[in-house]
Amino acid sequence: MSFSTSFWSLANPARFMSLTARAVPILSVLAGVCLVGGLVWGFFFTPDDYRQGSTVKIIYLHVPAALMAINGWLMMLVASLIWLVRRHHVSALAARAAAPVGVTMTLIALITGAVWGQPMWGTFWAWDPRLTSFLILFLFYLGYMALWAAIDDPDTAADLTSVLCLVGSVFAILSRYAVNFWNQGLHQGASLSLDREKNVADVFYHPLLLSMAGFILLFLALVLAGTRTEIRARRLHALRLRERMA
């Protein structure tokens, strides 16, 4: 079975359920190991930075969370497109399941960033472009979830949230540029570039990678588990309607 046929077979709810039944526990265990490993390593066994002192330890939370916040939205975008084009229900439900995970990641990035900002920039909140665009992303997530919650009919909800996700993505990118234009900020640029010279020192780098892996795995595990729940809830919805009619 080629990759592409096995991928699309996930679109069948029953297939999806049986294929992921095993994956979720495995992913969860892996996520737990990487997360605990990365965070313990970062928190207990790395030195303080010469400028930032112990606050550098926040990086193991902040950066992976920020990463997954953005990737969560990307995943929703792709899943929405699949739903709109190929009408695979599982895809729409996966997008729905990704939203709460993504919003939590965004919130973690915002909170850890704010807490980091107090010692570094002397303020909890500054209208820095990156911070600001994260706040906007947070609002997008909220709106997206609220729209899902507000509509009774699941297929209507899937359609409307997908359209919102598409239009929202365009505007999210637009906001990013607008915000940059509006205010040159305090936040540092990407420090995980391929150019080794500019990377953070290795002592911080390795635990950071491990913790990132943990966040990614955790994200996957949660989204898959959430999708399974959404599928069951969708089936439950269908059955309840039958009962109501009978």
């Binding site: 112990s54 606050t55 969370a65 995970v101 850890t112 069951r232 059955l239």
Partner: protein
């Protein structure tokens, strides 16, 4: 326990907040998953039984 210096409060708060949020998320996911699963089983039971 490493010495966090003058930023102990900030770093501690960041870790605590993150862990709480993550655990809540995991908890809600599991709780809702169980609840929906039980409700679905009940509904399927009513349908077939």
């Amino acid at each position: 326990m490493p010495d966090l210096g003058r930023y102990a409060l900030e770093v501690g708060f960041a870790y605590a907040a993150t862990l709480i949020l993550l655990l809540t998320l995991v908890g809600i996911t599991i709780w809702r998953g169980r609840r929906v699963k039980r409700a679905l089983q009940a509904a399927e039971g009513r349908r077939h039984g």
